[in-house]
Symmetry: C2
Subunit: 247 residues, 2 copies
Amino acid sequence: MQQQYAATAGAWPASRSPRIAHNEIDRNPLLDLVKIRERVSRGETIVDSTRTDKQITVLLDGLACMSTLHKDGSRQIYTFHHPGDLLVSQGMRYPNSIDHIQVQALSKSLVGLIERNDLEQAIQRRPALGQVLWRAAMVEASILRQRLITARWPALPRVAHLLCEQLTRLGVGSVVVPLNQIEVSDAVGLSVVHTNRVFKDLRQLGVLSQSRRIEVLDEKRLRELASFDGRYLDVSDILSRWELRIE
Amino acid sequence: MQQQYAATAGAWPASRSPRIAHNEIDRNPLLDLVKIRERVSRGETIVDSTRTDKQITVLLDGLACMSTLHKDGSRQIYTFHHPGDLLVSQGMRYPNSIDHIQVQALSKSLVGLIERNDLEQAIQRRPALGQVLWRAAMVEASILRQRLITARWPALPRVAHLLCEQLTRLGVGSVVVPLNQIEVSDAVGLSVVHTNRVFKDLRQLGVLSQSRRIEVLDEKRLRELASFDGRYLDVSDILSRWELRIE
DNA sequence: CGCCCCCTTGAGCCGGGTCAATTTGGGTGG
DNA sequence: CCACCCAAATTGACCCGGCTCAAGGGGGCG
C-alpha cells in the first residue's frame, strides 16, 4: 500500500496532503464526518444501489471508476475517481434498473463512509457545505459534458483527451496514467482493438513510450492532439466567485 | 404568448402550476427570489459566460437548450430545459474557452433572474436549499450519463430514446415533441441527413405520424425501440429518502 | 514454470458521414 | 388571393473510420 500511496499522491495540483489532495480545504468538513474506513482491492465494488441510501462514500486513496455493466457484457465508464472525490450519485439509486450503475475500485483503495444523518446535520450547521456539494456535482456534470463532446471526435484525439484529463487529475509531474487499454476503451467508447491501434499511433508519434504502461513522453504534443483545455476540471474560480467559506 | 403557455403547460407529471411545473414544491423558495422576469424569443441566447457570475437564471416558461457552438459551425446540445429548470452551470463559466457554452431559447420563453447574493443568503437561512441545488445538479449529471450510454447505440434507438425522454419531461398526454430534426441531430450527435432517415423509418413503423412535426402515435412501441426506463429522470425518491423540507 | 490477462495484428464488413440536389410548407408582402 | 422566399425536410451516391471475428504474443504473479 505504500507504493500505492505514492502512486496516487498529489492527485490534484496544489495539493497539500499526500492522500486527500483534491480540494482538501473545501472537503475537510466532510472528512471530519468519516467514521469508518475500509480497504478495497482492485475490481471490488465500492458503491452500488445496495449501499447508497444509508451512507455517502469518499475515496480517500486509490483509483476508482463509476460505470454501468450492460446486459450484453459491455461496460460504460462515466468518470474516474481520484482521492477526495465523493462517490455518490443519484444515478445509482435505481436497484431495479437493468443497467446497474456502480463505483468500482481500479486499484487497491481506501474509502471513508459518512453517515447520512451526520451529513444532513453538518449541512444544517454549515450551509456553505451544501454549496460545496452542489459545486462538486456541477464539476461532475462538467466532466460528463466534455465527454459528450469528445464522443464525436475521431478515435485518436478522443483517447488523447482522456489521457490529458487523467494527467491533470493526477497532478503536475505525473507521467504514467494508471489505466489499461480495456479501461480506456470502456471510457471513450471504442473497441479494445481500435483503442490499441490508437496507442500504436501515439507511440509512433513519440507521444507515448514503447512501454506496456501508458507513459506520456510528450505531454505538450498530447494536448495539441486532444485540443485539451483543462479548465472544465478547474473549480477554483467558482470558489472565489462564490466566496465559499467553510467555517 | 397565451398559446405558448398552453403548449408548455404541465411540463412535468403531477405538476400543480401551469407554468412552473417541474418540482414546483422544491423550487418555490427559489422562485421567491426571482426579482426580474424577461421574455426571450426563439433563437435568443438566455445565458452565456457574460451573465452567469452575477445572476442565476430560472426558466419560467418555454423551452431552451444548453449547447456548445464549435468553431467548425457544429452545435452540441447537452440537455433541453423545461419550465422550472435552473439555467446555470459551471460549464459556461469559461469565457476564454474555444467552445462557447450557452443556453439558448428554442421557443418564446420567459426567464426569471435571481441575484447571486439573494441566493447565498437564502441558502444561509435555509440550508436544505443547498441540498435541493445539489440534487438538481445530480439530476443533470444523471441525464448526461444516460446520453453517454445512448451515444453508443445505433441511430434509431438513440433518437427514439431522446423522444421518450422529452415526452416524459413534457408530461403525460403529450404527443408532440416541439423540436425540429436539426435540434434532434445536434442532441443525439447524428448528421441531419441520417436523423432524417431515422424519422422516415419511425414513420414507416407507425411510431410517428406522417406529419412534419414530431408527433408520436405509438409511445409504447417507441419505448420498446429505445429500451426506455425513465427513472433516471425521476427525483421523487431522492426527495423522500433525504426528507428534504424547505421551511 | 505455467497460466491467465492483456496486448497486438490482420482481414473484411457496414453504419453513418459527406456532398449535392430537390421538394415542401409556412410565412410575407403586394 | 397569389407569387415568392427560406428554412427545414428529403433523397441519392459514394466513402471511410471503427467494429467484429480470429489468431497469435508476452509478461507478471501464484
